[in-house]
């Protein structure tokens, strides 16, 4: 059967004709083989123009289209839906970004821009003929469970947001602490294994002594930060140093510390320096200000190397200074140590003045949040990558700041990297509502532009199995590689790396890419 191509040229109001000769483009399209319909419209993003295009598409019974418009993020959703109603498969539409690739960056070179636009149209026609229709499959979710690992600040916020979106939440908490959160809370429970894919995960959890299975549509990792003890020489001298959250807890129970309070940034001042973001500075400032306000006679010191409060929280610097909290900055050479002359005092060399200050420490508090030690086990069970500093690594920021590389698994709060309570709560809300919205749809879809193995060519060398970031390829019954369509994200890394050239990525085959490249290189430059 011969292809029937529709070519749509969007004038983008008047931006395109100001530089290019759209009539010449239309003529070129009309003269091309297999093109049955050419439409020039003012704006393809306008409903009326689009309806006209679709009317002609239906009338001429086109089966594929080349659309010369702007960036596909802007036009694709509405355009693909309209073409779907007109009976054209979404994978049979080739979008050409005329606006951002030709019109905007080549304002000063109209002739060369025209040549480029024509080459792009020819290449798109070549590619269009090679396209194959593809269908996306959908699968029912077996459950509407959102499983949240960790019942800290971000975990609770995530549970509230997910429940609000209509999901059933299950919180796994390692300790036995009680809290108010919607859904089911399983104290003394831990995640030990997981299988399945987006929308249909089966988790293995340990509750108390029992091992159980739990179905999950989405998973949120909210393990938070871990808390350590003092290290290095300070640890020998100071016995009752507390992490910041302990101080906060005591203050909530009206147990204000007696005597001076010294907040040190890291539990090991002389050792390895953490990154600036690894300290809960927002919380430190907030807690110390609250302490000073409730007990104005308490001497409060903040000893730090670098301080960076988040956003408008910087205003807290001034507030703290105004009510008499003393800030002492040190560098590594002048790290705080126990004063050799007076064992109940801390000697710090002030970075600004160069003087060695001797301050009494009644209660020593440290403000850093090291990564949670459980992250490793959880990352291993869920098969998601970890960051080099011990947190969970998020996927590309484009997928979303709270998503991991595996769709359907979210991460929030200090599990990513240390952050303040407020920020952790916001992130929890974000992860929770994303998971909730996703679960509410009730269906997961996959397929379309995915990889497929040509079994005869496969030599089962395991290269694809080792390379795929999503663990989609596996060695099947026939001792040949196969791709799990449900897991495939359509990146094509396995296709490029396969030494036997046995894998093909639908919609981006070698022929299609090379055909387009060859056609682009032909003609005038």
């Amino acid at each position: 059967m011969k292809a029937k191509i529709q070519v749509v040229i969007c004038r983008c109001c008047s931006e395109v004709p100001a530089l290019l000769n759209t009539d010449r483009l239309a003529m070129l399209a009309t003269d091309a083989d297999m093109v049955v319909s050419v439409k020039s419209v003012d704006a393809v993003c306008d409903g009326k123009d689009l309806a006209g295009v679709m009317g002609e598409a239906k009338e001429k019974e086109v089966d594929r289209a080349v659309v010369l418009a702007c960036h596909k993020r802007d036009v694709a959703p509405a355009l693909l839906r309209a073409y779907k109603r007109a009976g054209v498969n979404e994978f049979m539409i080739k979008l050409v970004n005329l606006r951002e690739e030709v019109v905007l960056p080549h304002q000063a070179q109209p002739e060369r821009a025209q040549a480029k636009a024509e080459a792009m149209l020819r290449a798109a026609l070549v590619r269009s003929v090679m396209l194959q229709p593809r269908e996306r499959q959908t699968e029912e979710m077996r459950t509407n469970n959102v499983v949240i690992i960790g019942a800290g600040v971000s975990g609770q916020a995530a549970a509230r947001a997910a429940a609000k979106a209509g999901a059933h939440t299950v919180i796994l908490e390692k300790t036995g602490k009680t809290m108010k959160a919607p859904g089911v809370i399983l104290p003394h429970s831990q995640l030990i294994g997981a299988k399945g894919w987006t929308g249909n995960y089966t988790l293995t959890i340990r509750v108390g002594e029992k091992v159980e299975e739990l179905e999950a549509a989405a998973i949120i990792v909210a393990t938070g930060g871990g808390w350590t003890e003092l290290k290095g020489p300070l640890a020998k001298a100071v016995k009752d140093a507390v992490p910041l959250y302990k101080l906060h807890e005591r203050m909530e129970n009206n147990d204000l510390p007696k005597g001076p309070v010294v907040v040190v940034d890291t539990p090991d001042p002389a050792g390895k320096t953490l990154k600036v973001q690894d300290y809960a500075w927002d919380d430190t400032l907030e807690t110390v200000i609250e302490l000073k306000k409730r007990a104005p006679s308490t001497e409060a010191y903040v000893v730090f190397q670098e301080m960076r409060a988040f956003g408008l929280n910087e205003l807290a610097y001034k507030e703290a200074a105004d009510i008499g909290i003393r800030f002492i900055r040190y560098d590594k050479a002048g790290a705080p140590k126990v004063d050799p002359k007076a064992p109940a005092k801390l000697a710090v060399k002030d970075f600004a003045q160069g003087e060695v200050l001797s301050i009494p420490f009644g209660t020593l508090v440290f403000a850093s949040i090291p990564p949670n030690k459980d992250n490793e086990g959880i990352a291993d069970a869920l098969r998601i990558p970890m960051a080099f500093d011990g947190g969970i690594r998020r996927g590309s920021i484009q997928r979303g700041p709270v998503e991991t590389v595996r769709p359907g698994i979210y991460v929030c709060g200090s599990a990513l990297f240390p952050k303040s309570r407020e920020l952790a709560e916001r992130e929890g809300e974000m992860a929770g509502s994303m998971a909730g919205e996703f679960v509410k749809t009730g269906r997961t879809s996959y397929g379309g532009s995915v990889a497929e193995v040509e079994q005869e060519k496969c030599s089962a060398c395991l290269t694809c199995v080792r390379t795929c970031p999503y663990e989609a390829p596996f060695i099947g019954r026939a001792s040949k590689a196969e791709i799990r369509t449900e897991l495939c994200q359509g990146c094509g890394i396995c296709v490029g790396i396969c030494p036997s050239k046995a894998i093909e990525l639908h919609h981006y085959t070698d022929d299609q890419i090379m055909g387009e490249a060859r056609s682009l290189l032909g003609g005038d430059f």
Binding site: P469, Y470, I493, L505, L520
Partner: protein
């Protein structure tokens, strides 16, 4: 052949790479019209044969433009892409073609300045080296 225009082709990933290119266009940055782009889902999809065929089809310079390695949309895609560019460079050298004709660039989608810079560099290389001399037949 003073007025011969250089031919540059870029394989651009449709995630950060294309976003960066689009953002540079939208922020009014201009670049040479000698460059044509092929969109691929990920730079990891770029195969050695695509790059070599592009040279065979007459490109003076070829570049691959993808996500930052630590923030690739497909996790390890741009690292794989760089490896592939590396070995094609080696092949070019063995075939007696200057390896500067092929380059890999990385950008985050907000790095609008990266794309014109990459194009400028490749156009410069293409202008300096001229077309690839094909053996014997004087083309």
């Amino acid at each position: 052949m003073a007025d011969r225009k250089p031919k540059v082709i870029g394989f651009v990933c449709e995630r950060h790479g294309m976003e960066a290119a689009v953002l540079s266009a939208r922020s009014g940055k201009q670049h040479d019209a000698s460059v044509r782009l092929v969109e691929v889902p990920c730079t990891g999809r770029v195969d050695g044969i695509h790059l070599l065929k592009a040279f065979e089809d007459g490109a003076d310079a070829v570049f691959v433009f993808g996500c930052l390695e630590k923030n690739c949309y497909y996790d390890t895609g741009s690292i794989e892409g760089r490896k592939r560019v590396g070995y094609v460079k080696q092949m070019l050298e063995e075939a007696g073609i200057e390896k500067e004709r092929l380059e890999m660039f990385n950008a985050a989608s907000s790095n609008a300045w990266m794309f014109p810079k990459a194009v400028e560099k490749m156009v410069e290389v293409a202008k300096k080296l001229g077309p690839i001399e094909k053996g014997g037949d004087g083309q």
